[in-house]
Subunit: 417 residues, 2 copies
């Protein structure tokens, strides 16, 4: 943490948790590499591709919302089109096996705000939160604001290593060390690893939640974007205790800029989250997206997106095979946006993907370095031999070009064989 | 607090502050009266009137944003129209005398979210926060989520009683009791009292903030809606220490449903608020409102709104004079949405406006009872002889009808003279 930054005039007035958060920025390396090389292909961020957004359909939906209920569309509470949204959210959840109705739905301004409101409802300072490690840094930043201890649990090809989790829980109970209040997980098409937690492990995780009395915060941002393989039910669909707080979003399936996310949970939890999810609703966006859902555009758009993203994923995997075959390993993701790449042993053992990024950027590609995704505030918590590639944003040609640039970069640090 | 409500299955897992918040609902009396009497004139809530919303202009602005920069309008970060917004916010602030640029602006999803992010940046559990009493209950609900002691400071016709504030601060310093981290104030057209803090008192408040080392959180939701009298500079315009965190919104001047608010503050504070203001931006709304500003609609709309609200205010004051003249007192507000009405001594001394509401609703009017606006969690903290009337939402005819119904209600509890 930078001492200079901590000596501000108002530092003594900031909250403990805010003070602790101050020096930290997960994306710093990525940001400076991007700024220094604006022409490099961006395989770093998990943005949807530019022409994926249903501009015309949303505009027309907004127009119809104004036509139908213009006095209330922009009012506090919103009109009849915004009111459609909770039912569509519940209906989508039911198609994934989650038994719920609108009394269990709390709409939020995007998934990160949902996670923030859930954190506020559950986390006291100095409590303990468990999460997969690696995981989504945007969420780690949210948790950091609550002054909690963040404990990372390892993953393998099948997602969270539930045996390792159980060992950690048991050791903590035996040693009288704090047990978690929340377990944060992205079980399906995990960010950054792309892995999907197996059905058997999902059941084990829920058993552990009951045994050790924690709540499971399930982030399902990518659940609708499966390109092959079999659907695995969300944790919320397997939950018999009401211990799973399910968070969803249309950021990846409609557009990030509408800021529509939600919490689906036990009514008692939803009531509490409603209190921490402060402020009125973004009824302009809710009305447009509510009408958009009602007109059946969502299903159609998701079908088109699946095709488009599958092509991008396949191209990235083919390109990785062709150019980086023996220098790295990765697991084929069955959905989502990401490929998690591990540099192989033939790469110089001192190579750290955080440090390698500036060289990659100069070669023409930006990736997200592995350490970004680990809970340790100093970036020294793991992932040094890993990097995340996103196939969601670039064109097929850019994906090729980016992977080729990555291969060139990696060759510069390969040990002579 | 209801014991039943506190015995939920997850109660032991909720955060301390969330547990404390659980039983509380400021609007309960109002909500049940409204539900029981849907046909009563609503003079309770501070909603803009239905045809005040610039639906066509916003839709056309959104259309042009999509036309101009459609690939980025709904993307994370947004396109060129969303990027216009911070500059317009800074420019509006400068017209009110606040010396600032865009590096001091943090956009939020509405003013309540702004206040939430500021609270998260400053408040630790068990710290102390000062506020005007009465004040806006929506903000009190936000503060309650942070587990702080909320101390109310009285107001008179000229707004906050700064002498009383100074006495309280001095007594606390002498007795070694906690001093506030934040002082929350709505200095201009205060909600609910309609009062405006005088220039001299604004300067005194800032001197006290420096002497007792607290930050002033200035909520300026109504500052652009002055109907007569002289402009008084916002606290942020008088601040020489960077101690004022200024919060603004277009909820009252464009529409609530776009959820556009902001924080303007010292750069150090803005950097911290940026970390607690989590999640991406609602770029659909930001693009539409950015373009709307750029096209000059804002100024024009505010001029029209001032005329419309002035008429409503004047009608309400005239109607109060005519029907309630000797049974109540009020101060003419020079702007904003509200008239704060005190029942006079000729009303039965046991009358409580919380209890009176169901009778008023049956007569045909809903108001907001005075106790709603006081920090005490049990509603027993003051305001029992006060009620808030809003002239913002009803038509002129409804305002008359509502005030007449209120006068009838009050007559039923008048002592025989």
């Amino acid at each position: 943490m930078d001492e200079l930054e901590r000596s501000g005039r108002f530092d003594h007035l900031f909250s403990e948790s805010a003070r602790a958060t101050g020096g930290w920025s997960a994306y710093e390396t990525w940001r400076s590499a991007t700024a220094a090389n604006p022409d490099a292909v961006s395989l770093g961020v998990g943005f949807p591709f530019p022409d994926s957004f249903p501009n015309d359909e949303l505009l027309s939906a907004a127009e119809r919302a104004f036509d139908g209920d213009g006095d209330r569309t922009l009012q506090y509470g919103g009109g009849e089109d915004a009111a459609l949204l909770p039912e569509f959210v519940a209906e989508r959840a039911r198609t994934h096996g989650i038994d719920c109705d609108t009394s269990q739905v709390e709409l939020t301004d995007g998934a990160t705000r949902a996670i923030d409101a859930v954190s506020h409802a559950f986390l006291d300072p100095d409590e303990t939160l468990f999460t997969e490690a690696p995981t989504f840094p945007g969420t780690l930043a949210v948790f950091r604001n609550y002054g909690v201890e963040i404990v990372g649990c390892p993953l393998d090809r099948d997602g969270l290593d539930v045996d390792a989790l159980e060992r950690e829980l048991r050791a903590r109970r035996n040693d009288d060390r704090p047990l978690p209040t929340l377990f944060y997980t992205i079980p399906t098409f995990q960010n950054p690893t792309g892995t999907t937690l197996s059905l058997e492990r999902r059941r084990r995780l829920l058993e552990l939640a009951a045994e050790y009395d924690f709540v499971v915060l399930e982030d399902d941002a990518y659940g609708d974007l499966r390109y092959d393989g079999e659907d695995v039910p969300p944790l919320a669909a397997l939950d018999e205790e009401g211990r799973v707080v399910h968070v969803g979003t249309v950021s990846k399936t409609v557009a990030p800029g509408v800021r529509i996310g939600w919490v689906i949970a036990d009514e008692e939890i939803v009531a509490q989250v409603n209190r921490t999810n402060v402020g009125a609703s973004n009824t302009l966006a809710q009305s447009a997206v509510g009408r958009y859902f009602a007109d059946g555009y969502y299903e159609q758009n998701v079908r088109e997106l699946r095709e488009a993203y599958e092509k991008r994923r396949d191209r990235m995997l083919a390109s990785l095979d062709e150019h980086l075959g023996s220098a790295a390993r990765w697991v084929k993701p069955e959905g989502g946006f990401f490929v998690w790449v591990e540099l192989s042993e033939e790469i110089d053992v001192d190579v750290d993907t955080d440090e390698l990024l500036s060289r990659a950027a100069a070669e023409g590609v930006i990736y997200m370095p592995g350490p970004t995704f680990f809970p340790a505030a100093d970036g020294e918590g793991g992932g040094e031999r890993f990097l995340r590639l996103s196939f969601s944003h670039g064109s097929l040609e850019e994906i090729d070009r980016g992977v080729e640039a990555l291969a060139r970069t990696v060759r510069t640090v390969s040990s002579p064989s």
